[in-house]
Symmetry: C2
Subunit: 205 residues, 2 copies
């Protein structure tokens, strides 16, 4: 359907929304008309929230996590274990690990993984700053928590080569069968790796 | 997952996006992070497009279609047949009819249909202004193009009662089997109505 907009302002707003990933013209129209039905203060709060975020957002100088301050709340928290650094791809991964409430160390957000196909090299990521953090001392363990993809594995290996001379303990998060998953439906790579990396069992789950 | 935001600004922006219909917290996060990767001018263009639309949008004084001017482009177009008015629920319906390129008359946007369940009465819709347009003269035909729902039918009947004393010809758009649909899969109400409202066939499609 070749849509005929009776308002250029409407067309402009719809086009802006349609630039968002996964939002087509029809959905964009629906979202814009929804906002148009709200009162002016609501629409301003919506529009300004993203503009303010873009202008005022900071990235933590230590771990590069998104933050409202120069040093993020996690890095600034003296209750946390500063000797352990969990290396993740992006800030969503930080949120995912935080949500488990199982980790009390600090993070290091790479900003992606090494991917020659996408033109992402080590220099585009926060790898040197990770090496610098480790070199500065006080770090006992670096946990690699990247995607189990070729790119993630490449990045893991690159970091391993950079840190193997240091005294830091390097670990990767456990890969295996998800809790609640059934064996017969698990892919063979995961199942194979979970057998190779079996852990001792003391009768407690 | 109880998401832990490391930035209040981020949390605020995600919450604003998550208020949109059909957008959950995860999608909102994805959209916000997408915008955050764009440069500042792109983000400003996005945020301001909806704010500007809300502040500057006008509704045509004649047909109540969305417009950048006091009188919309359709009503202001002297090439169009001002003696025919197509009554629709909303501006998306105007766009849908315009896209067919089969209609050269004017429109009247009600802003909805009568729906006691949703607390929408005739006074909440642009019905009186439609009566006034017809009373002002110069209108030969009013085409009712509302939804085929109980609410649409109620609104059709309400307008019929209001206009039956006037000399205007009142029509409804044809209902029947969609082009390309197969008979056996058509619902019986539509099929029944398409038999009752059969049209004469002169050998041409």
């Amino acid at each position: 359907m070749n849509q005929q907009y009776s308002s250029l302002l409407l067309e402009k707003a719809v086009n802006e929304f349609a630039k968002l990933p996964g939002i087509g013209k029809k959905t964009a129209m629906r979202l814009v008309l929804h906002l148009l039905r709200q009162d002016a203060s609501t629409v301003e709060a919506f529009g300004n929230s993203i503009i303010t975020l873009k202008h005022e957002v900071k990235y933590c100088k230590v771990c590069h996590n998104i933050s409202d301050t120069e040093i993020c709340q996690i890095c600034a928290n003296s209750q946390r274990d500063a000797s352990t650094i969990c290396v993740v791809e992006n800030i969503r991964d930080v949120m995912a690990v935080e949500a488990t409430q199982q980790y009390k160390g600090l993070y290091h957000v790479l900003g992606g993984v090494i991917s020659p196909m996408d033109g992402v090299g080590p220099g585009d990521l926060q790898i040197q700053s990770l090496i610098d953090r480790v070199s500065a001392g006080g770090v006992n363990e670096v946990i690699l928590a990247l995607s189990t993809t070729m790119e993630g594995d490449t990045t893991n290996f690159f970091i391993y080569r950079k840190l193997e001379q240091s005294r830091v303990k390097l670990t990767v998060i456990a890969r295996g069968i998800s809790i609640g998953d059934e064996l017969e439906y698990t892919d063979e790579v995961t199942l194979g790796r979970s057998i190779v990396n079996r852990t001792s069992f003391d009768g407690k789950m």
